[in-house]
């Protein structure tokens, strides 16, 4: 599987060069407080909400302060310096504690506190770059005396589309849990010189309550607060609220001295909406709606099975079955062995693919199913491979123990090797196809730890190998197959044409990716291959020297065409991307355009596709282009956005990732209305399916 090895090497280099998190400036220490800048994620994903925090570890008896420090003191402040386009939320204050000394009451934190903020990462970050965060933290730490302190902390994280939790994910998870939950606006009145605060309905059982006012002066901090029935009676402060004033703060309910509920009441500021913290290293799913491992494995198996029917895989499998027919007389043991070796070939290829994915991911690369087809060199090589297989099927050349192991005696060792490489070939030719159910499984797999990624890929491979494996294992099934005969040769020759078609399609993809020069290179390569095949098979009747000479010439031709072809394509791969303007009714997808349309509440249909994705092209032809579907789009005033992933595009990779996918196709329909979640359409479309989706009610 030299094709993937060539990809593996740079991937490994990338993995070795994978940068580590700089810890040097993320921490600082004074006599009283150790501060640390922490991030929930080890990598920064473009467009994400990144949960970060400043942790203070405070020596015993000392404390730092809450947003309203109480009668004295100062709240901790964090001034952020972030890359262009990034913004940090204000501190999402954890529920404070009360410290009273004589007539003075303070609100703050002792021992340890982590002050979380959410950083909005700009969407246009370049994958593989770095994201630097700098926080100037000012705090006052007091016991008997007060000491103002500050530190400038910085953190630099690699940018990657793959989410990776950091070692501090748990710490920030706990910090989030300490931030009060959102409650309602306060219901209060001034009665008998006291501020009477009504407790929210449905409060858990409690025997005490305390209201931490957000602003100075609202209440007298040092005065006791009396709980009577569902009312908390509080002495107003020097800036007591008047009718219509907002009463903002944190209401804490206690039972037997322990807090049982902490609610942020009022409007200012919005409590922290929990930011999901990826716990990838622990092996858990990243969000509640991610499929479980078992489900992902099941979907992968099903996807692999369906891959057998894809136009580029089907001929390979058919040929394999034909060769089985020819040797139906072979011993059962040998037949079963072939089935297992074929399985081994498929699984080894999928394991290699998973390895490349894992390595690229570790290097911070953005990867997905079919990612290798974003490389024009890979497309060229697969196109030439398909052409070579086609030549072999046509009978132009019968390569000894050919790579595809076509029609060879099964008992021989080369035959076994042939079965192995048939498995490899089946995998290689299957990569441009995304079968239904595969997208979800692989999208899940790439966000998981390496072991899970590998398991999902192996399940996919098992699915691909299963039909042939069953045939080999099950003599009864073999007997149902038609008798071998001359028809097999004709069928084999006929099956050459899907292979030629696949090669032609890949040549077209190549032209779109890398321009007409690349197409010329591919065609020249094909002619070189054909010449080599013809030379080889027509010199077999010659003497040993002649055979050898022609074999050498053929090998040179193959090496020459493939080698120069690769160089030629590499040289032209910087050609401008193919335009998509020709698609009538479709606009190119940009996140900005989508955001604008969504803000206006307009319905949008998003089609993420690639020229090398057969499923995508079939869907477009069959389900998205027919005139009645086009008419339905127009009548409903739906803007159609098309994202072309043929050459790879960060912004599209991100949109895919947002929906748990790692490859195309992906179809999203956003019905009219400002805040409606998109409907994700299946990966195999029919016109009816699309029309039904467009007519769906606009409620979320």
């Amino acid at each position: 599987m030299t094709l993937n090895v060539s990809l593996l090497l740079p991937a490994l280099l990338l993995a070795l060069a994978a940068p580590c998190v700089a810890h040097a400036q993320a921490e600082a220490k004074t006599e009283q407080v150790a501060v640390r800048l922490v991030s929930a994620a080890a990598t920064v994903q473009p467009g994400q909400s990144l949960l970060v925090g400043v942790q203070q570890k405070i020596i015993p008896h000392w404390h730092t302060y809450w947003a309203n420090p109480g009668d004295s003191g100062l709240p901790t402040t964090i001034a952020w310096t972030l890359p262009a386009g990034a913004t940090a939320s204000p501190i999402h204050w954890p529920t404070p504690s009360r410290y009273s000394l004589g007539p003075i009451t303070n609100y703050g934190y002792a021992d340890e506190v982590t002050l979380p903020s959410v950083v909005q990462v700009p969407a246009d970050l370049r994958d593989g770059g770095r994201f630097g965060l700098k926080a100037k933290v000012d705090w006052l730490v007091c016991h008997d005396v007060c000491i103002p302190q500050n530190a400038t902390l910085s953190l630099s994280l690699p940018v990657s589309t793959a989410a990776t939790a950091s070692a501090d994910a748990d710490l920030l998870q706990q910090a989030q849990a300490r931030v009060p939950q959102r409650g309602d606006a306060a219901r209060w009145q001034l009665d008998g010189g006291k501020l009477q605060l009504s407790l929210p309905q449905g409060a858990p059982a409690h025997d005490a309550a305390y209201f931490f006012a957000r602003k100075w002066g609202l209440v007298a901090h040092a005065e006791p607060q009396q709980l009577q029935q569902a009312r908390l009676s509080i002495a107003p402060g020097d800036n007591a609220p008047k009718g219509g004033d907002a009463v903002d703060g944190v209401l804490v309910l206690f039972k037997e001295g322990k807090p049982v509920q902490s609610l942020a009441i009022g409007h200012d500021p919005a409590p922290l909406t929990p930011v999901p913290v990826s716990t990838a290293p622990a092996g858990a799913a990243t969000s509640a709606d991610a499929p479980s491992l078992l489900l992902a494995l099941g979907l992968a198996l099903l996807g692999g099975l369906i891959l057998n029917l894809m136009p580029c895989v089907f001929p390979v499998l058919t040929i394999k079955v034909l060769s089985l027919l020819q040797t139906a007389q072979g011993s059962r043991r040998v037949v079963r062995l072939h089935g297992l070796v074929y399985l081994a070939g498929v699984l080894a290829s999928f394991a290699a693919l998973a390895g490349v994915l894992i390595a690229l991911k570790a290097g911070g690369g953005s990867v997905g199913w079919g990612f290798q087809f974003q490389s024009p060199v890979f497309v060229l090589l697969v196109a030439l491979l398909m052409f070579a297989v086609g030549l072999s099927l046509s009978g132009v050349v019968t390569i000894g123990s050919s790579a595809a192991g076509l029609g060879q005696g099964l008992a021989s060792q080369p035959g076994l090797r042939g079965s192995f490489f048939t498995g490899v070939l089946a995998t290689v030719v299957a990569t441009p196809c995304t079968a239904p159910f595969m997208g979800v499984a692989i999208g899940y797999a790439v966000t998981q730890p390496p072991a899970v990624t590998l398991a999902v890929f192996l399940a996919l491979g098992l699915g691909l190998a299963l039909p042939y494996l069953l045939l080999c294992e099950w003599p009864a099934l073999q007997r149902r197959l038609p008798r071998p005969g001359a028809w097999m040769d004709r069928l084999k020759q006929a099956l050459a044409f899907p292979m030629y078609a696949s090669a032609a399609w890949l040549a077209w993809v190549l032209a779109r990716q890398a321009g007409p020069e690349a197409l010329a290179v591919a065609l020249a390569g094909a002619i070189g291959l054909a010449l080599a095949a013809w030379l080889y098979s027509n010199t077999r009747d010659l003497g040993a020297r002649g055979r050898h000479a022609s074999a050498v010439i053929a090998v040179l031709l193959v090496v020459g065409t493939v080698g120069f072809g690769t160089l030629g394509v590499t040289g032209t791969s910087t050609a401008p991307p193919a335009t998509t303007a020709a698609d009538s009714g479709w606009e190119p997808y940009t996140p900005e355009r989508l955001a604008t349309l969504r803000r206006e509440g307009k319905p949008v249909f998003v089609n993420l596709t690639a020229d090398w994705c057969i499923t995508c092209l079939v869907n477009e032809r069959v389900a998205l282009s027919p005139s009645h579907v086009d008419e339905a789009f127009r009548q409903a005033g739906i803007t159609r956005l098309k994202g072309d992933w043929t050459r790879g595009d960060e912004r599209i990779t991100r949109l895919l990732a947002e929906h748990g996918r790692s490859g195309v196709p992906l179809y999203l329909f956003y019905p009219a209305g400002p805040q409606v979640e998109p409907q994700v359409l299946p990966q195999l479309l029919t016109p009816d399916l699309v029309l039904t989706a467009l007519k769906a009610p606009t409620s979320p």
Binding site: D71, S72, G73, L74, S100, L101, G102, P103, I104, N106, D138, L140, C142, D144, V145, C146, I147, P148, W216, G217, A220, A222, E223, P224, A235, D238, N239
Partner: protein
């Protein structure tokens, strides 16, 4: 501190100093007669509020070791400058030191005078309120914490020195100086626009 203890304290304080009545929680109330007091001054002579009837009086709680006080003294000269301006226009400026013995900022009268000399401070007098009675009567919480009493003996301002609670000297220039504004309002016979503001700083180091 419970309300009961507060009431006991008030009762004690009233007995000792025959103070004017004041509210249960906010000891010194705006637009009400300011709590009267007689405390030993730094020079050993007792200082009484009643002696300044007819004059505008500023009460400034201070603690020379507190970083917020240092922000406005050693590190900027902000409060000493204000003291000179105020006293030059006939205002009485009283520094009050309520730190209990053994706590931060507690000084003898002689030490207080020497400190002021070193810092270029020019208050009319320094009050050594070591038992914290005046501080608690006024509800002083922070150092600095400032009060302005008008010529009628009524409290017209209570709060911070300025509008930016921080320990950074550079914020002084950007902040509104509430005391300066209040004194200007009083001098012009106006109602003080910002009569109650957030005091900020270290806590007053009371004994309990």
């Amino acid at each position: 501190m419970t309300t009961l203890r507060r009431h006991c304290l008030i009762a004690l304080a009233s007995a000792a100093w025959a103070l004017a009545p004041f509210g249960a929680h906010a000891a010194a109330t705006l637009d009400q007669p300011a709590p009267a007091f007689t405390v030993p001054g730094a020079d050993g002579k007792p200082v009484s509020l009643s002696a300044y009837k007819g004059k505008t009086v500023v009460l400034e709680w201070t603690n020379h070791e507190c970083p917020f006080v240092r922000k406005h003294y050693d590190r900027s000269g902000n409060i000493p400058k204000l003291q000179k301006e105020a006293t030059a226009s006939g205002v009485v400026w009283l520094q009050v030191i309520s730190s209990s013995p053994g706590s931060q900022g507690h000084v003898t009268g002689a030490q207080a005078q020497k400190l002021n000399q070193q810092r270029g401070a020019a208050p009319s007098a320094v009050l050594i309120d070591a038992d914290g009675k005046v501080g608690k009567a006024y509800g002083a919480q922070t150092t600095p914490h400032l009060y302005v009493i008008n010529a009628d003996g009524k409290l017209v301002y209570k709060g911070g020195i300025d509008s930016i609670p921080s320990s950074n000297v550079s914020d002084i220039a950007k902040a509104d100086n509430y005391v300066k504004l209040a004194l200007a309002d009083v001098a012009a016979g106006r109602k003080v626009a910002q009569a109650s503001t957030q005091p900020y700083g270290c806590s007053v180091k009371y004994s309990d």
